[in-house]
Amino acid sequence: MSPSVSVVIVHLRGRERLLRTLEEVSRQVAREGGELVVVDNGSREGAPEEIRRRFPRARVLSQPTNRGFAAGCLVGAEAAASEWLVFLNDDAIPEEGWLASLREAAGRLPSDAFTVAGRLLDRTGSRIDFTDGFLVFDGHAFADRVGAPADSGGGPGDERLFACGGNMLVERREFFESGGFDPGYFAYLEDVDFGWRQWILGHRVLYEPRATARHEGGATGEALGLYNRGYLIEKNAWATAYKNFDAEHLRELWGAAATAFLVRIDAMIRRDPGAASLSRDPYREPAGAVGPLARWLGVRAAEDSIRIDDPLAIAQLRALRAVLEGAGGLAESRARVQQRRVRPDREIFARFPLRIVPTYPGDEIFSTPFFAPFLPAALPLAPSRLEEIFPGGA
């Protein structure tokens, strides 16, 4: 018999999209049994009241402020009454049979798997939004083959490194025992961190394409803006790499990751007119230099100054700062994960090759002789290009 599920939806912005999602979810929950839990992360469009009126069986957990996606999921999971949890994005409208497929998949899971990755398609239902994902050497992660035809994403039971947090099922007990989503992430990559951890603990994550939802597109992500989103992604990429790589991988890859960071920062700042003085020849007199007479008269030379406006560069630097400020906690998190490790990363990345993907300004350096010594010969990285990852266009 299929087990009962609690569908947890975290909401922040985009009330109308949420209500469209709930319309379909509540229908499937009513048919399949289980419960619907909506965590309102301090939204300001009056969603909780409308949910109570339109979906009286839903449980609405109103948070006074936005605690982030990861913490919101934890709040919902904590309150959930079922043995299995389903996390669904608030702007992902399930297709017919979505919940039934997840329940069936849960009932079929082998003893070493507790997580099912559902399929996310674009709003037309014809193109892939998420069917698979991979990890990059510096802790970033990508959904793979975004925009490719919907049915080209693999079959039921295929292994996945991680499930997208926008459409996944996980056993509630396992979710908490394994540490759940890291609330420090706030949003982005908490699902990658969780999936990788499942493999580290000796478990597996399996795919179920029949559990399909159509992703309308992130109202929340768009509203965050380039700076905040970039900041969260960069910070969480660092955290994911630092926490989860085993000793060998951390040692072998950290040089490449740190070099990539430095090169990117330089490339981003290079575009910034306010940072032009960084290009000045240090052996030449500055343009504003004053002669001896002027100096005697008290005229001072203009000093070099840097002003950085580029949001990507600021996001990178701010992320670095956050990582360093949270260094103690990260070290503890790393120790906890590594102490419980059952499966070495070599085994994990034999199944899911780590990749190297030129993504940011400056990443052209990956293919230069300068960067080659940072790449570990013994740990092969699979080169990918963005066009392969986003065949439908980014």
Partner: protein, 323 residues
Amino acid sequence: MSRAISVVIPTFNRLEILPRVLEALAAQTIGAEAFEVIAVNDGSTDGTEGYLAGHRAPFALRGFSQANAGPAAARNRGVREAQGDLVVFLGDDTVPEPTFLERHAEAHRERSGRKIAVLGYTTWPTERRVTPFLHHINEYGLQFGYELIGDREAVPFNFFYTSNISLPRAAFDEAGGFDTTFPDAAWEDIELSYRLSRAGYVIVYEPRAVVRHHHDITFASFRRRQERSGRAAAIFYGKHPELGDFLGVDRASNRPPAVPAWVRLWASLCEKWEIPGGRRAIDRVLTGDYLRGLAVALDAAPPGGRTDPSRGHGTGEASGTGG
């Protein structure tokens, strides 16, 4: 002779409008032989009993009188007396359009074999100017919530409005009828609906089955109603604690701060001057009233057993959690 449809109208001191309801039933597009009307006079003191006894209608009209016991008991009595297979609940101040019964009967016929109740549309009289406040409470879930209905074939249980709803008599009996511990017209309808939904019944919305609601509602009167609704919600919660979120129990228990005076003032001005943008303030005030009533009732003796000496019927209106 048994008839297919039994229209059940509980009534309490509404003699000024009840005759219009009966007149409208006499003008239905389905033949007068196809239905009966059962009016249950719930202890009215305005001469309703005599009126019903003397009224001549083209359809079979049967009047019953009982000591005031509230709308739940009155409707139960009405169904007990009913002979039709399909029960249509109508309010004593809701005047049906001519096709009202035809639409209800048709909706059931088209879905025969399915376990359904059919919800019709209750709106304001055409001659009445509908202020933004009246529109709001009718459409967005405080009194009724028609604008909130998404899928008309699967309407949630909290849209069970006894001013205009029909269901097989067998369904009513299967669920056990209305719970008479609810003292007045608040939540007793939704509570029955919840039990029906758990027995597999689904509400279908048929907006063409129209009745028009002749009831003077003001912001002040609606605020008092919200507080009563909050008190009745505690009874609901006692019976179905799993609906605590929906009923707002957590919010009431946490003692939400009183709605600031300026919001109350702004909300009442919005109603008075018909300012369309006052929806949120009105919701906030009415929710505050509801939660206050609920908090008081939760603090009092365990749910159940309360009585209220003046059991008005309203129109069998629904009880939203309010704003």
